[in-house]
Symmetry: C2
Subunit: 196 residues, 2 copies
DNA sequence: TGCTCCATATGACGAGTATCATATTTTCTC
DNA sequence: GAGAAAATATGATACTCGTCATATGGAGCA
């Protein structure tokens, strides 16, 4: 793929396609991302797609990266607004909120909880992007656990991320709203106990 | 769909199709289950499929149920072999073992960790089957937490299941084997701390 | 052995897919 | 404003998918 000047028209279009693809991943999963639909969502027709990406897989990899960046930004915003000393639970409460359960339907929220089980079947580029994103997420949680040593904080952060993602996955999967709420509440308590 | 006599030839064939479909869900996810491939895997040709199931969705729902039953049996076997008093950690260690990370590639292991993020997009029958299966799993863990009261055990069980599934999802998604192992180890410690 | 019925196979249809060659429109430069 | 270059649209190809109508085969019974 050739070089594209920053800020050029083509670059802006590429960005629109990428945003649409990131939305599609959260809404429909990796397998559900169709070139034609993404292009339509970006306000374009399907044919021009290959002027921007070498293949559908290349799009998926770039979109996975994009989705990760968007989520990290969202977490950083929540962190900035949190009351000092309570940053971890602010993240947890945001992640396990009702609105995050339904967010995927609108193409918003955590892409790992929305399509994570498809990642092992994706091309290496996607897997690499997602792995990077997961490490970032762990690092972000790790920084909110200052009372433990660096190594212990890292250990705890990994399990906290696992609990959050697992809880959101289950909360979205079950068709019983009360169970969905119960799962998230209990995950919150588990994290609080482990971090407090 | 008409009634089928138990033990009849047709029933046996239906069972073969179902097993093949359950394998396919774990290998390729719900969206990756194709009627033709499943039939071929069951040793049949694609056309005869509709003599056994009304639609692909009906197959998915039945296969989700089947996959849940298979996993429950597997857990029960592990439970029977565990040393008394250590049942919970026996389950945890089996669930987070190296072999379970790679199991999906062979169509084995937990279907929720293999295709759970696709469940919200499936038909109501699939969602119902999966919800039932999740409740069973929570109940099974709950029974291994006798030192807590019934209500507290249920609370804890939900978060334990979330942690296990989240950890396995992440361990399968990342392309760094060391990180995969670290995530599972830390999840194990979190569960041990919460249950011990 | 011959007939009937159940189970499975063959083959086809229409819709949707990724991909690409080519045409058209838009944008920029002189 | 005219011509050049970039960006996007049109249309086609080859393929896969779920679904179904119909044909074939084989088992059990007379």
């Amino acid at each position: 793929m050739e070089q594209v000047k920053a800020g050029s028209k083509k670059e802006q279009t590429r960005e629109r396609i990428l945003r649409a693809a990131a939305r599609a991943i959260r809404k429909y999963g990796y397998e559900g991302v169709g070139v034609a639909d993404v292009m339509k969502d970006a306000g374009l027709t399907h044919g021009g797609f290959y002027a921007h990406f070498d293949s559908r897989d290349a799009l998926l990899a770039a979109a996975a990266e994009k989705a990760g960046l968007e989520s990290a930004e969202s977490l950083s915003r929540a962190l900035a607004k949190a009351t000092p000393g309570d940053e971890l639970m602010a993240i947890v409460d945001m992640y396990l909120a009702d609105s995050h359960v339904t967010a995927a339907e609108q193409g918003l929220g955590c892409a790992i909880a929305a399509a994570g089980t498809e990642v092992p079947r994706q091309c290496p580029e996607v897997r690499r992007a997602v792995s990077r994103r997961i490490k970032e997420l762990i690092g972000l949680i790790e920084q909110q656990l200052p009372e433990w040593g660096k190594s212990a904080a890292h250990e705890k952060a990994m399990s906290v991320v696992a609990t959050l993602i697992g809880a959101l996955l289950l909360a979205r999967a079950v068709d019983d709203p009360q169970l969905s709420k119960g799962i998230r509440k209990s995950a919150r308590e588990l994290v609080r106990g482990a971090a407090g």
